[in-house]
């Protein structure tokens, strides 16, 4: 009985969420690749890449196309939240253990996590979203607002220039580039470590691709959620079939490709960076 439970799988992310994450990271990689090429134009790799993919026209086309794709993912996501909250009245999305909204508990758990790092206390019990996962989420939100607004205003500079002074475009390019660099470096170091590369998840957490986690993973990574679901008796409602082998392999191939691309970009930008 105990052994069978170890092998059981539970849903964490719906197909819609996985699709959005797929759109998010593929457009993010595309934007990073084309955008960093411009940002580090004087580097040899940037020039070689730009000429290799077909010139400036291609770089700008793909950058804008990925931007539109990411915007679409963003709008679908926001629309979905609004629908869930206002139509389905699921206010638990706005506050409580299932919510991504930062709450006092997150500050407490942050402190507790640091105490655990230093061996001064027990590991805190995280619920559905730990504080660093919430930070990842809101960092993307903030980043998309900053990068998106500055990006679209440069894309549509002539009409924007009728509303805003020209100095906005100086600020816009700086914001766009610096925030993008922050996002790229954050995702390719901190997010990769927190989610995939730390010893507890190494080499990759495939839950965002398969949507499913084992009971053991749920219990270790989200113990408060596990206990809550058990107490509510709703855990079995999340029971999932073990993901098929091809599905896990496909997830790993895509995930490793993304991580490898990320690391290459990280190294290239770090070596080319000059303030």
């Amino acid at each position: 009985m105990e052994n069978r439970q170890e092998q059981s799988y539970y849903y964490r992310f719906s197909p819609g969420k996985r699709l959005l994450h797929g759109m998010l990271f593929s457009s993010f990689l595309g934007l990073a690749l084309t955008g960093l090429t411009l940002r580090f134009g004087s580097a040899g790799w940037a020039s070689a890449f730009a000429h290799g993919v077909g010139g400036l026209g291609a770089i700008l086309f793909f950058h804008k196309a990925f931007g539109v794709l990411l915007t679409a993912a963003f709008l679908v996501h926001v629309g979905n939240i609004l629908r869930l909250v206002f139509v389905q009245k699921r206010f638990g999305m706005l506050w409580g253990p299932e919510s991504l909204v930062p709450q006092p508990r997150d500050v407490v758990q942050l402190g507790a996590h640091f105490r655990w790092f230093l061996g001064l206390g027990p590991k805190p019990k995280f619920d559905r979203y730990a504080y660093w996962e919430k930070f990842d989420y809101w960092a993307v939100f903030w980043g998309m607002a900053i990068i998106g607004l500055s990006g679209y205003s440069m894309w549509f500079a002539q009409p924007v220039a009728r509303l805003l002074p020209g100095s906005w475009f100086n600020v816009a390019l700086l914001l766009h580039g610096d925030e993008a660099l922050l996002a790229v470096w954050f995702i390719f170091t901190i997010h990769f470590f927190n989610t995939h590369l730390r010893p507890g998840s190494f080499p990759m957490d495939t839950v965002i691709f398969t949507g499913r986690q084992t009971r053991k993973e749920l219990e270790e990574k989200h113990p408060a959620e596990y206990e809550r679901l058990l107490a509510q008796g709703s855990l079995e409602g999340l029971r999932a079939e073990q993901p098929q082998r091809w599905f896990v392999v496909a997830g790993k191939v895509v995930g490793f490709a993304a991580i490898a691309t990320g690391f290459v970009l990280l190294l290239l930008t770090l070596f080319s960076f000059r303030q």
Partner: protein
């Protein structure tokens, strides 16, 4: 004119003395392979000599010490200066004469060839005919061994691949600039000689001999005005276009180099340019965005305070409008050289940049520490729990 008078005088003198005619001399010297007692060739091809500009003068015009047959030996070396006095006085002050006083330094014949075969400079057989001249100068100035030995500028290969060289060799244009167009012919002076046509201050006028319209624009611009005012720091034609390897300004390779060339003096402006989209695209190696001279003009460069300037506030919409459509007043209030380190002139940009620096530092300091500590704790837990190494939350 003076040469013509000399020619007439010489001819009448030769006829007057009535001693020897060219055909008398050529009776012996006209034979192929005719040699003197030391074995040096003393042969003159009568056919070649008859087409030479010197043939009408007769042999004695130059070899005046030969008055009888058989003549005494040795015959004196002919001085070209006897007739070509002004060319000679120019040559006496030239680098070819002054700098290298050893006997191997070039003299008349090195460029003009066999004196018995000398033809007009406009004759395509002449070694100093425009289309042949670079090769003649290149005998020394394109010779790597001589370049090394005498420190000569090895400029022939640079010139021949330049737009002037192509105009000459590919297009066969007699109007193309050759060596003498810029350096002069007999009176070649070192570039640091203020009288040299290629001395810094004289270069615009030298290039302007052909490029008159550009010269006029240059002197209307800040660089030209500076040169006139005696500022030796300002760029002249060659500062941007080079002296010998001049390429078409329409080539991407030239256009991409201009930003670093302007930037070698205007370094602060070049740095702020690099921060812009214009600069990023240029750095990538594409010429579709604006570079220095697209906005500032190439030759008639004027400060924004001058109403004639392309970057004067009243002219900005027109200047930016060369590339951008529907350019509004707000659009041109964009500063293509904004400096994020200058809080006085660009407070918005300055504080945005400082905030982004702070954000970057704060995020990576916090999460860097977070990540390192987490990693270390995970390793400790892994050792504690043995092979499984999972981070089990406390119950």
């Amino acid at each position: 004119m003076s040469v013509a008078v000399l020619v007439l005088a010489s001819v009448s003198w030769a006829e007057g003395s009535g001693s020897l005619s060219s055909s008398d001399c050529l009776a012996c010297h006209g034979e192929a392979g005719f040699k003197d007692s030391k074995g040096h060739s003393a042969s003159v091809d009568p056919k070649v000599f008859s087409t030479s500009v010197h043939s009408a003068l007769g042999c004695q015009a130059c070899h005046s010490d030969v008055t009888e047959f058989p003549h005494k030996l040795p015959v004196k070396t002919v001085a070209c200066a006897g007739c070509h006095a002004s060319a000679d006085s120019d040559f006496q002050v030239s680098v070819h004469h002054l700098v290298m006083k050893d006997p191997s330094s070039p003299a008349c014949l090195n460029c003009h060839g066999d004196p018995h075969a000398v033809v007009s400079v406009h004759d395509s057989r002449s070694p100093v005919y425009a289309l042949n001249l670079p090769r003649t100068c290149g005998t020394c100035h394109g010779n790597p061994r001589l370049a090394r030995e005498y420190g000569l500028p090895n400029v022939y290969s640079l010139y021949i691949d330049s737009i002037h060289g192509f105009a000459l060799t590919r297009d066969g244009l007699l109007v193309a600039a050759t060596c003498t167009s810029c350096h002069g012919a007999h009176k070649i002076l070192a570039p640091n000689n203020p009288h040299s046509p290629v001395s810094r201050k004289n270069i615009p006028a030298t290039c302007g001999a052909c490029h008159a319209g550009i010269e006029a624009k240059y002197f209307r611009g800040a660089h030209g005005k500076g040169l006139r005012a005696g500022n030796s720091e300002v760029p002249v034609c060659t500062s941007c276009h080079t002296a010998h390897s001049i390429v078409s300004v329409r080539t991407a390779s030239f256009q991409l180099k201009t930003t670093s060339r302007c930037g070698s003096c205007h370094s602060a402006r070049a740095a702020t340019y690099q921060d812009t989209f214009h600069g990023q695209v240029t750095a990538l190696g594409f010429v579709v965005t604006a570079r220095c001279w697209n906005c500032h003009r190439a030759h008639e460069i004027l400060p924004a305070s001058d109403p004639e300037s392309s970057i004067a506030p009243a002219n900005l919409q027109k200047t930016c409008g060369q590339c951008h459509e529907n350019v509004s007043k707000g659009f041109v209030s964009y500063d293509p050289h904004a400096n994020p380190r200058d809080s006085t002139h660009y407070p918005g940009l300055y504080y945005t940049a400082r905030f982004m620096n702070f954000l970057m530092l704060a995020v990576f300091t916090f999460f860097g520490l977070h990540t390192i500590l987490w990693f270390l704790r995970s390793l400790v837990e892994r050792r504690k729990d043995g092979r499984s190494g999972e981070e089990v939350a406390s119950k």
